[in-house]
């Protein structure tokens, strides 16, 4: 009896968690006039691709997707490479000021993103990088403290014997990092890559500030503008929102074990 009640509550929670996704997908497949006349939970019958094809053809959705893919892809690649290097230096190499510097990295995690936006914008303007992909990508390309922290903690759990053995065989620092540490750290690097990709895909503030033309506009900026323009035409903006979420849902379901495990780990550190 008690168990049934527990399940009922847990199930209700799960329904609340997924209902907005399901209702959005459902409504995006409805005929435009049915989006307003029927309730969100009434099934799309007959289902139609009309909203999607309209959003796709009339607005630059393919452009938004491409720009977002470039942005998120480049930032993810950069972060994985440079976080590995920095994490290795912090985890295994001896140099003066190491712990102080690492502590400084951690301390900046408390600084809100928006606080640094005005000076960051001015720095990019100084370099002539306003409304360019380089300007868009650069601030997070070299790694962020959180990612470096994540990889460093993982590197420290790898037994030192392995590196010592490699060094006896003549491997230098770089060889050790590339041949020993990175292959052993695949799970955490996959996690870092997935989380970075999702976060960059979702970022609004920085692209909003640094880009201002059609050829650099990313999904977040693009569909926020659509929402401003077509506030009450839900069939259009819901289809756009569904298109922005679908790749994320795919990535999430594909890598869910990595993601769930990595979130669980963050709290235990």
């Amino acid at each position: 009896m008690k168990r049934t009640a527990l399940y009922a509550v847990l199930l209700a929670g799960a329904v609340v968690s997924v209902a907005p996704y399901l209702m959005t997908l459902n409504s995006a497949f409805k005929h435009p006039r049915d989006v307003l006349t029927t309730s969100a939970w009434q099934p799309a019958a007959p289902a139609t691709f009309e909203n999607f094809s309209r959003v796709w053809s009339q607005y630059d959705m393919s452009g938004f997707l491409l720009h977002t893919l470039i942005y998120a892809g480049a930032v993810t690649a950069g972060q994985v490479v440079f976080s590995c290097m920095a994490a290795y230096a912090f985890a295994r190499m001896e140099f003066p000021g190491r712990d102080l510097l690492f502590w400084c990295y951690l301390a900046t995690m408390m600084v809100p993103q928006l606080v640094t936006m005005v000076p960051l914008f001015l720095i990019m303007r100084e370099f002539g990088l306003i409304d360019t992909y380089v300007g868009l990508i650069l601030p997070t390309f070299f790694g962020v403290p959180y990612g470096i922290f994540l990889v460093r903690q993982y590197f420290r759990t790898i037994p030192r014997d392995l590196e010592a053995a490699a060094q006896v065989d003549g491997a230098g620092t770089w060889t050790t990092l590339i041949r020993i540490m990175i292959p052993l750290s695949r799970p955490i690097l996959a996690t870092l890559a997935i989380i970075t990709f999702i976060q960059t895909w979702n970022t609004l503030i920085w692209p909003l500030i640094i880009t201002n033309s059609a050829h650099t506009q990313v999904l977040t900026v693009g569909i926020a503008a659509l929402k401003g323009q077509f506030a009450s035409q839900y069939h259009i903006i819901l289809a756009a929102a569904a298109l922005a979420l679908l790749p994320l849902i795919a990535v999430f379901l594909l890598f869910q074990r990595h993601i769930v495990r990595s979130i669980a780990l963050t709290g235990l550190k």
Partner: protein, 317 residues
Amino acid sequence: MSVHTALEAGRSTDARAPAPRGPRRRRRVRAVLEAYTMLAPSLVGFLLFLVAPIFGVLALSLFDWNLIGTPAFVGLANYRELAGDPEARRAIINTIYYVLLNIPAQTVLALLLAVALNRRLRGGKVLRLLYVLPWMAMPVALGIIWTWIFDPKYGAINKLLGLAGIDGPAWLSSTTWAMPVLASVNIWQYTGYTMLILLAGLQAIPRRLLEAAEIDGASATQRFFRITLPLLRPSMFFVLVTSTIGSFQMFDTVYVMTQGGPADSTETLNFHIYQQAFRLFRAGYASALAVVLFCLILLVTVAQYLYFRRRTIYDFS
């Protein structure tokens, strides 16, 4: 090891002059250089895009500047203006209100779910996955979806309320309801994530302690408050600190759903900074606001740290 020494030896004969320092010292210098090479890209990014802007914002807050002309040094005038600015005070109060709506509800809900899922129920893994699903969603897309869900006429919430015979309000155009709606979107998005971290903390608590307490006749409530909760403190601390910092920074949802309205009732500090900097081009004043936001976050984080520090942390590993 032997390869390294051989290389060192080769180098020192190349240099022709007798090495003033021993090879050990030289190897150490090289190791340090190597470490900094490894660190260089991240360090450049860190200094240029994180440290420089932090000092930049402090400096800018002492200037009056529209981002185009010559900046004029005004000393603490921006802070003085801020202290007497009702809009800034409003934004700070709104931000604190939003955080207070968010954190307790989210943490308690997450804790309840985590405790329930810690019983190793059948289907627990699937439930866990479903709860985390909102976490990765794009806040901009969520803003659109939740605007629709809370639409007074076509939205799911008011249609559901209608079925129960209740006439739902115009949520997002009400100065009373707009902020709770924004908070509920955030609670929806992050409860599952918080639950997962707490669940990991719960699973790290040794079962034998709870069993021992049960044998000693402690009730379920006593076991929860006397054993589970105190042992969950490290996870709790992490969850509270990160989610509080996160809520102070909320931007996307306001930007998409309300733009600070109606009547500034959802104008948070973060959104206010954006407006001042990039719509009104008051770089100096916006920087002063940013410094205030940072101090506010620092204050709350330190308070949380002190509260959690003065309690014992148990280690059973």
